[in-house]
């Protein structure tokens, strides 16, 4: 509206952000920016019973200089109309958060149940304004009078006029009500989005909320697009009959002094144990720990470091924080839970002495000051990883120790990703499930310009369908919108005062958990300390490995005591023989290992850090490799950077280094550098990165650096923004890399069992872990009702070193394994642990028949059938079919016969059945059934059965690739194990195929991918033709043609391949001429061509194919 008047100032006090889930259609930052652009006097954020969006708005408003009002739209469950609430000062804010907490805690997750009585109890100091919707005028006068009589603050009657059916009269009526109640009218536009163009998005969100299509939602959608932020003149026009309501917004604004900056954070007191102060206690524990760590005397250098660190901690008064972490780790250790700290402060000498980390400061040469600096006053950051299966114990310990009033988990804002957005938006547009799947499948190729028409066609969609374009456009807009709050994986906030006076607390989905409404970025923005209690699957695996080592080999090891720096371990890693090893098992890492050739611990630190977006986007990887291989001289851009870049051959690899460069080379103050880092972390949301970029590059150039280097440094920082990876993290991870590599190198049997027992974990499926272990000489034995436990176990076996695959011949002296691995029943799908434990408990001397198992174990018929499907009855001489036949024959209904009393000869006689005489199961079918039941087969690789056919097609075994020259063209075929498209590799897809001889690494360039999109994404058995590329023992096949060979798998489970082959010929069916039939009732029928009823045999083949396909791995996708 372009009505120009001498417009009076206006503040929009009621704007919903997209944290009013599926209602608000703009980010908090967008609203703040638009409010500033419109010249509003102030902006009030009022989300529905939530304060989840206020921190972001607060930060954005601070940056831009807008007065922000923290508020909330209270929705009631007792019929009271919505009431807007703005706390005037800190105390009132605390009452508001407690009010919301009360509402949250009594409601299921995601809901807040409030009554007017709650508000009456907690509303002091809060400016309140009922905002009646249409038809909510009755009783309003009483409500206003009550609010007026209860609190000191004058309530207001908020009015929103949205070009509705009867605005003028409504305003007049409400004005009358307000006048009678003696309260002022307050204008608002009840904002749902920042600009009118967001209306479609808001409609879509409403539909998602209502589980409706756009057509079906009808009048539940807004009638027009008026609920955007409006400027003072537009509001003056709308409220021309009540200008005083506009003026009131400004007087309310002026009366509100609360800002989130008023939340002074206080860390709780820690128990000081034997000492007087936390600092003294910390020092006592540290020196005690140091003696334990260095029984031969503390090295002077370490001692000096400890003194320096303690002084710093004292200066900043962080002692309680360290004590908290120490106490948590102590608790875990007492319970036998493996823990490992990481994060900026974790790899200090103090933390090593306190047992928070196992990384010896003497081993890494890491500087503590780099992580906490007195100038920045940034809180220290210590994350502690725990075994993923046992982290809950630690979490409950924290709740217990501090109480729910003082401790809460940070939230994680679950946002729409493009894929989930497409599904939801597509549903709103009424697209079929199938279309949704396909559309979601094309997301990889969406650009900012829109969806590629060609891609749509390839996916089998109609590019002319305007709905698809809309779906794509809106999905992109919704991507990044918060969808709901979830609990952070383990970020704890602990406060001295009541946590619920700082931020509302709500129930988490998990029983016994409570979560605050802010996420970790919000907490960091407000300078609040948090401790990350994280779960790490690898710690579980390592702990299980260490247990097995102790029990089966009598070897007692801990994370700290695993023999350090053994060359054999590094030899293995240099061969890229790292399947299953923590962090370095991905394709990219496997490619990097032979190039980087790690020979010591610090090399591993670099190995972990280098394959990350930061170094890759900064184009730092190749310079580093060249220097390491001695192909390039180590030089420093300027002398002043020598100290910063010394350890990494003059190339910045770690986040700390990049930040240091900003300070040392670009003249940033530490505070600025910190803001730069934060801006990066959220730059996509805020978008104010340009100024930093100019400042950094200009600053560096001005100090005599090359512009190119400066730009690369900046790009690297950008890369860290997406996934910050500091040296301290890398060091903690490197320790686990070494530990897991050592286990794999020395005890592949132990390693396999540990890994299987900690599944799901890592990049690879159990099938690949098993295969790798077998190639390392480990004998793996099948699941069995009489021999298997729930977990994989070790049994007596032969030394592995004697049975190595030729590929690993050089490890003969390294491998110490002498035992065989018995797969656990956990490998069998859909068996419950309790069932299996019961079975084991009642096994006694062993079961001798299916019936015996049934009668003694009490397992359900279904569970027994699953055991049979897993082929677990071999020890009693039954194969899969025979066992299944027996299991199927158990009479579930006849409960009494299960009592041993009735299991007498007589009953046995009665139930004796004729011999089943089942057709024998062909080997291919067995393998497929193994895959179906266990996801792996010890009998054979599925591709073995196709080898003859593949040979006829001149398809080479995967292993053959490593024996041919660079540049030779070959075709291979195999099951698709992994597809990976790293964001940093400009669209290249890495695939891993597997056949019975080994794996083949496929590289698919974007152009080829676009041609074969559906095949790349859909095939389970893939044929790839291309050029072999071999570099330092790393062999790739650069694909030029791909073919989906999944259909071949259909032959596997058939009873005879020949029969299936014949049946396939039936697929040619007789065409039916088009015809018109008189009885046709509808127009479409005129064109209807009736199919000859589908041939049964073909259907049979299809079914078989479908089943086989479903049994085979789908291939895991990684980004």
């Amino acid at each position: 509206m372009s009505v120009q008047t001498g417009s009076r100032p206006y503040a929009e006090l009621c704007a919903a952000t997209n944290f009013s889930f599926l209602r608000g259609a703009s980010h908090p930052e967008e609203l703040v920016r638009q409010a500033a652009a419109l010249g509003l006097a102030g902006l009030g954020i009022c989300d529905r019973n939530s304060l989840a969006g206020v921190v972001r708005a607060h930060m954005a408003a601070k940056e831009i200089g807008l007065q922000l009002v923290i508020g909330c739209r209270l929705g009631f469950c007792d019929g009271t109309p919505d009431i807007l609430a703005w706390p005037r000062e800190r105390q009132a804010y605390g009452r508001l958060t407690r009010l919301l907490t009360i509402g949250n805690r009594r409601a299921p997750k995601g809901e807040c149940h409030l009554t007017l009585e709650d508000l009456v109890a907690w509303g002091e100091g809060i400016v309140l304004a009922p905002l009646p919707g249409p038809g909510e005028e009755a009783g309003l006068d009483a409500l206003l009078v009550r609010l007026r009589g209860t609190f000191d603050d004058m309530p207001r009657l908020a009015v929103a006029l949205g070009y509705g059916i009867d605005d003028r009269r409504r305003l007049a009526r409400l004005g009358e009500i307000a006048r009678k109640a003696g309260v002022p009218l307050l204008a608002t536009n009840d904002v749902l989005y920042h600009v009118p163009g967001r209306r479609p998005l808001q409609d879509v969100l409403s539909c998602i909320r209502l589980h409706e299509t756009l057509e079906g939602a009808g009048r539940r959608l807004e009638a027009n697009a008026e609920r955007h932020l409006k400027g003072a003149s537009a509001m003056a026009h709308v409220f021309r009959a009540a200008p005083e309501a506009l003026a009131e917004t400004v007087s309310v604004l002026k009366s509100l002094t609360f800002s989130l900056d008023d939340l002074a954070y206080e860390y709780p007191e820690e128990a000081t144990g034997l000492s007087a102060t936390p600092q003294e206690e910390l020092e006592r524990l540290t020196w005690k720990g140091a003696e334990r760590r260095y029984p031969d005397g503390i090295p002077p250098r370490v001692e000096a470091t400890i003194r320096r660190e303690l002084a710093l901690v004292s200066e900043l008064a962080y002692a309680p924080y360290f004590l908290t972490v120490q106490d948590i780790v102590r608790f875990a250790r007492a319970r036998g839970i493996l823990a490992q700290g990481r994060g900026s402060a974790a790899n200090s000498a103090v933390c090593f002495c306190l047992g928070i980390t196992e990384v010896d400061p003497a081993r890494g040469d890491l500087l503590f000051e780099r992580f906490i600096s007195p100038e920045r006053r940034e809180p220290p950051d210590i994350d502690v990883d725990f075994e993923h299966e046992r982290r809950e114990e630690v979490i409950q310990y924290i709740y217990e120790k501090y109480g729910r009033e003082h401790a809460g988990l940070a939230a994680t804002v679950i946002t729409y990703r493009t894929r989930s957005a497409v599904r939801e938006v597509g549903k709103v547009f009424g697209l079929s499930q199938d279309t949704l799947n396909r559309l979601a499948g094309t997301i990889w190729g969406w650009s900012s310009q829109g969806i590629d028409q060609r891609m749509l066609r390839e996916a089998g969609l109609d590019p002319a369908d305007p709905r698809l374009v809309l779906v794509a456009r809106l999905s992109r807009a919704i991507a990044g919108f918060p969808r709901h709050l979830s609990q952070h994986v383990g970020g704890f906030v602990i406060t001295r005062g009541r946590l619920d006076t700082v931020v509302p607390i709500q129930n988490a989905a998990m029983e016994g958990r409570t979560v605050i409404e802010w996420d970790k970025d919000d907490l960091e923005s407000l300078g609040m300390l948090k401790i990350d209690i994280l779960a790490l699957g690898m710690l579980t695996a390592i702990r299980k490995c260490l247990d097995l080592l102790r029990e089966d080999y009598g070897r007692e090891e801990t994370l700290a005591s695993i023999p350090a720096e053994e060359p054999e371990v590094y030899d293995m890693l240099c061969q890229a023989d790292s399947l299953g090893v923590f962090q370095v098992e991905s394709r990219a890492q496997m490619t990097m290992l032979p190039r980087l050739k790690p020979r010591n611990f610090y090399d591993l630190v670099i190995e972990v850090a280098i394959v990350r977006p930061g170094p890759i986007q900064g184009d730092m990887v190749h310079p580093y490799l060249r220097r390491r291989q001695g192909l390039e001289k180590v030089v420093y851009p300027k002398r002043e950077l020598e100290e910063v870049l010394g350890k990494t051959l003059g190339v910045p690899l770690f986040q700390e280094q990049a930040m240091r460069i900003a300070i040392v080379a670009a003249g940033f103050s530490p505070g600025e550098a910190d803001r730069l880092r934060r801006a990066m972390a959220t730059f996509r949301r805020v978008g104010t990165i340009g100024t930093f970029q100019r400042k950094m590059i200009d600053g560096m150039v001005a100090r005599g650096y090359e512009a190119d280097f400066a730009e690369r440094c900046f790009r690297q920082i950008e890369g860290f923004g997406e996934y910050g990876f500091p040296e301290s993290h890398a060091a903690s991870f490197a320790l686990l890399v070494y530990a897991s590599a050592w286990l794999k190198a020395r005890y592949p049997d132990v390693f396999l069992a540990g890994m299987l027992n900690a599944q799901p974990l890592g990049f690879y499926a159990p099938a690949q872990l098993v295969r790798d272990a077998r190639e390392h000489g480990v004998e793996v034995r099948e699941v069995d009702i009489n021999l298997s436990d729930w977990d994989a176990t070790l049994e007596a076996g032969a030394p592995a070193a004697g049975r190595l695959h030729p590929r690993h011949a050089q490890m003969r002296g390294t491998i110490l394994s002498t035992r065989a691995v018995r797969l656990g029943l956990r490998s069998a799908k859909r068996l419950k642990e309790e069932e299996v434990q019961t079975l084991i408990a009642r096994r006694g001397e062993g079961f001798d028949s299916v019936r015996d198992l049934w009668l003694r174990s009490g397992l359900s018929k279904r569970a027994i059938a699953r055991l049979a499907e897993a082929d677990a009855f071999r020890s009693i001489g039954l194969d899969r079919r025979a066992a299944l036949w027996a299991a199927q024959g158990l009479d579930e209904g006849g409960e009494p016969t299960r009592l041993p009393l009735f299991d007498t000869a007589a009953v046995g006689e009665l139930r004796r059945e004729p011999d089943a005489d089942l057709p024998p199961m062909p080997p291919g079918a067995h393998v497929v059934a193994d895959y179906r039941a266990l996801s792996l087969s010890l009998k054979a690789h599925p591709v073995v059965f196709l080898r003859q056919r593949l040979e006829r097609l001149s398809i080479a075994p995967c292993e053959a690739l490593s024996h041919v020259r660079n540049g030779v063209r070959r075709e291979v075929a195999g099951l698709v194990l992994v597809r990976q498209r790293p964001g940093t590799a400009s669209g290249v897809i890495f695939m891993t195929l597997e056949d019975e001889t080994g794996v083949a690494n496929i590289v698919v360039w974007p152009k080829v991918f676009e041609r074969h999109r559906a095949i790349v994404l859909g095939a389970r058995l893939l044929r790839v033709r291309g050029k072999v590329q071999s570099d330092q023992g790393v062999v790739h096949l650069i694909a030029d043609t791909l073919e989906d060979a999944t259909a071949m798998l259909g032959d596997l489970s058939g009873d005879s391949l020949a029969d299936a082959g014949l049946a396939r010929a039936d697929e040619v069916k007789r065409p039916v001429p088009e015809q018109r039939h008189k009885v046709s009732p509808g127009s479409g029928l005129v064109q209807l061509v009736r199919e000859v009823p589908e041939l049964a045999r073909v259907r049979d083949v299809h079914t078989r194919l479908r089943q086989t396909q479903a049994a085979m791995p789908k291939g895991r996708n990684f980004h």
Binding site: V3, Q4, T5, R168, R169, A172, R240, A241
Partner: protein, 290 residues
């Protein structure tokens, strides 16, 4: 408001019970439920006369109140006054339907629809006539319209029949209207012939109303007044049941009843509203139809 014989208490009770049960079973519309008229339900015929409560109107008829169960005629000068004409009839229908069970049969020809549009359910609902009770019959010829009307007035499930015609069609001659009158009076429903732009034509109907709108507001320069209540200038040109005369009526939406016009303060204050209000610019521009 309805002239009724003194109700027999027992029958009244029974009728009310029935009505309630019917309401529970969803048989009657909500409007019918709101104001059950015990007496009419009891004798099954509905009130003999409809009292509007406006003396000037009710007094025009012989024994006070418009007779029901017979044939009336309502016309407007031109079809652009179709809103007022429809409103007047809708108001009468709403009064009738609130007091009697049964559906309203609304018969119209395409010609009438083209001129004055289709009845709008939401609008009828605001008058208190539940659209769910309206059966809309679209005929092709006048003969069909008359036939449908005759069928309607004789059916027991119908409380009123409206037929819309344009002008004075030849098929609706004195004979035809007499026949219609006889059938109507033999049946139980009240029938209205609603003629858009109808010049006076011979008719056997008991009444002929000529309806024109009654202005409710005025403007003061560029300042526009808000709308008042709907109102009519009713000219009862012929009345076989009393005397002719003219009267002004208004409709009260909240009470769902007729009212005598009164000068009332509008709810919306005149100051500061209207397009020429606070915005001040008030530029005026011509828009073409193109």
């Amino acid at each position: 408001m309805v002239a009724v014989p003194r109700p027999d208490p027992d029958r009244t009770l029974l009728a009310e019970l029935r009505s309630r049960v019917a309401a529970l079973e969803g048989g009657l519309s909500s409007e019918g439920r709101l104001m059950p008229d015990p007496a009419s339900a009891a004798n099954g015929q509905g009130p003999a006369r409809l009292l509007t409560g406006v003396a000037g109107f009710d007094g025009l008829f012989a024994s006070s109140g418009m007779p029901c169960g017979t044939l009336h005629e309502a016309t407007s000068a031109e079809s652009r006054s179709g809103g007022a004409l429809t409103g007047f009839v809708a108001a009468l229908l709403a009064c009738l339907a609130a007091r009697r069970a049964g559906a309203v049969l609304w018969v119209m020809e395409p010609e009438a629809g083209r001129e004055a549009g289709c009845p709008n359910a939401e609008g009828l609902a605001r008058f208190g006539l539940d659209p769910a009770r309206v059966l809309l019959v679209r005929t092709r010829r006048v003969e069909e319209t008359l036939w449908a009307m005759e069928e309607g007035v004789q059916a027991s499930g119908i409380c009123a029949v409206v037929a819309e015609l344009r002008g004075a069609p030849r098929a609706l001659d004195l004979t035809a209207s007499r026949r219609l009158l006889l059938r109507t009076e033999a049946g139980g429903a009240t029938a209205f012939l609603l003629r858009h732009g109808g010049e006076s034509a011979p008719s056997a109907a008991v009444t002929r109303f000529r309806i024109a709108a009654r202005p409710s507001g005025g403007r003061d320069g560029l300042r526009l007044a808000p709308l008042g209540r709907p109102g009519w200038q009713v000219a009862l040109q012929r009345n076989r049941d009393g005397r002719p005369g003219t009267v002004e009526l208004e409709w009260d939406h909240a009470m769902r009843s007729f009212a005598a016009p009164a000068d009332r303060e509008p709810v919306v204050p005149r100051t500061g509203d209207g397009p020429a209000g606070a915005s001040g610019t008030g530029r005026v521009m011509a828009f073409s139809r193109r």
